[in-house]
């Protein structure tokens, strides 16, 4: 019988190696794999190349990982949130390399990797400093920029429901980067709010088919995230 469940996030991150490329899902708090990221902090792997929309906030999860000095490079669209002190400090000291990518291009590059494409032309960014040095081409009378796929060794996401086969659903705005990231990494782990039996998710409502997922871990959400609001909150232990 296929069983992709793991008992702990520690186990789930145990394969991460120094220098690994790691996609971290979520946009803001929804979909953020806070428990896996804390496990990754405990685990100790360093020189990580992190792919995420932002640079973390406060002192938990990704901001904590940055604070610990474990991130060598960050590919993201929006590291400039005022709450990102951990990143800002290290970036200004030249300790973290930054690859800044428009948000739509970032998620499309991740999708392209998962879909086995060799890259694509997008109008976004043409003629701006973010396209400096990139190949451009006129297509249907409009300038386009060539963008390469973006893959990773590991992808960590938070989902709502999951089953032993790795099928996932997301609540509301949790889908965000998690859907494409699950397709684009060699090793994909989802922390989930609810573990349901195989068949417990309507086949028409699976957001991430199990083929894309290696492991699921059923656990309460990261305490900082779970504590943020009181109502309508499935992440409370």
């Amino acid at each position: 019988m296929i069983d992709k469940t793991l008992k702990t996030c520690a186990e789930a991150v145990s394969r991460v190696f120094d220098g690994a490329t790691v996609m971290l899902g979520g946009f803001g708090d929804p979909g953020l794999p806070g428990v896996l990221i804390e496990a990754l902090r405990e685990h100790g792997a360093k020189d990580l190349w992190v792919i995420h929309n932002g640079a973390g906030q406060g002192d938990y999860a990704l901001a904590g990982l940055m604070d610990d000095g474990r991130v060598r490079k960050l590919t993201c669209s929006f590291p400039s949130h005022p709450g990102n002190k951990a990143f800002a400090n290290r970036y200004m000291r030249g300790e973290i390399e930054l690859e800044l990518v428009p948000q739509g291009t970032l998620c499309e590059r991740i999708r392209a990797a998962g879909a086995g494409l060799g890259g694509f032309f997008t109008p976004t960014g043409a003629g701006t400093e973010l396209a400096a040095g990139k190949e451009t081409r006129m297509i249907n009378g409009r300038e386009h920029v060539f963008e390469m796929p973006l893959s990773a060794d590991f992808a960590f996401v938070r989902a709502y429901q999951g089953d032993r086969l790795g099928n996932l659903t997301y609540r509301m705005a949790m889908l965000n980067f998690n859907v494409p990231m699950c397709t684009a990494a060699k090793h994909v782990v989802a922390e989930i709010d609810e573990l349901v039996p195989a068949g417990g998710i309507d086949p028409q409502q699976v957001h991430t088919p199990g083929i894309f997922v290696d492991h699921v871990v059923h656990c309460a959400r990261h305490p900082v995230l779970a504590s943020k609001v009181n109502l309508q909150n499935p992440g409370r232990a």
């Binding site: 400039s80 200004m92 739509g104 309508q232």
Partner: protein, 228 residues
């Protein structure tokens, strides 16, 4: 002169029923509350929401329901959730009808600069470029002049561009200006202002539309004239 809410109010008039609209942070965020009851507009958020409603009452926030500005939001009946690639397909594919953005500078040809402030330590672009390149109608809302009184509508942007030639209409506390192939056209002035006063605070030459008029703005959305 208009207050921030006055600018938002004026934009709200130009959003037709049934349109799909993405609102940026700041003044654009005030637009939702300005719509008359029953005027159905679908608000899009880059992080995967179509059909955002008003902010939730305190204590009723849902941990999984935020907008692109990381604020807790609600959804209206008929809303949908989707992943980032789908969300940016809506943007880049031209499916969103209007995007209302703040701006640092707008040039006479519609060039927009709004993503990189001078002297900032950490640059961040987010979805600004995707929106500016992808959405059919880019509306800009901003104060007409910078804090030091210098014009923000310029012959050429001096800050890094978000997208070239993308702005269609500019809404400020002083005026409503269209970007046209023939240059900037002044369509409306704020209550109490003259076209000449607007021109004085605008670097490029404005063509005053034949039917240029004073905006119809409720008293509560007017503001004392600024120092600029």
């Amino acid at each position: 002169m208009l207050s921030r809410h006055g600018i938002a109010y004026r934009v709200s008039i130009d959003l037709p029923e049934g349109s799909y609209v993405n609102l940026g942070i700041g003044i654009p965020n005030l637009i939702g509350d300005m719509l008359p009851p029953g005027k159905e507009i679908f608000f899009h958020s880059e992080n995967g929401i179509l059909g955002m409603g008003p902010a939730p009452p305190a204590g009723q926030e849902d941990i999984d329901l935020i907008n692109a500005g990381k604020q807790y939001v609600t959804v209206i009946p008929g809303a949908s959730f989707f992943d980032h690639p789908t969300s940016f397909s809506m943007i880049r594919g031209g499916h969103i009808d209007f995007c209302v953005l703040g701006a640092l500078q707008v040039a006479a040809n519609g060039d927009l600069a709004n993503w990189r402030t001078p002297g900032e330590k950490v640059p961040g672009v987010g979805g600004a470029m995707d929106l500016a390149f992808g959405v059919k109608n880019i509306f800009v809302t901003m104060t007409h002049v910078a804090k030091d009184g210098s014009p923000k509508i310029l012959n050429n942007c001096t800050l890094p561009l978000t997208a070239p030639r993308c702005v269609r209409r500019i809404f400020t506390d002083m005026a409503l200006i269209d970007v046209t192939p023939d240059g900037l056209v002044l369509r409306e002035v704020a209550p109490g202002l003259t076209p000449e006063q607007v021109q004085a605070k605008t670097e490029p030459r404005l063509t005053v539309a034949a039917d240029c008029r004073e905006m119809t703005i409720p008293e509560k959305y007017r503001a004392a004239r600024g120092a600029g």
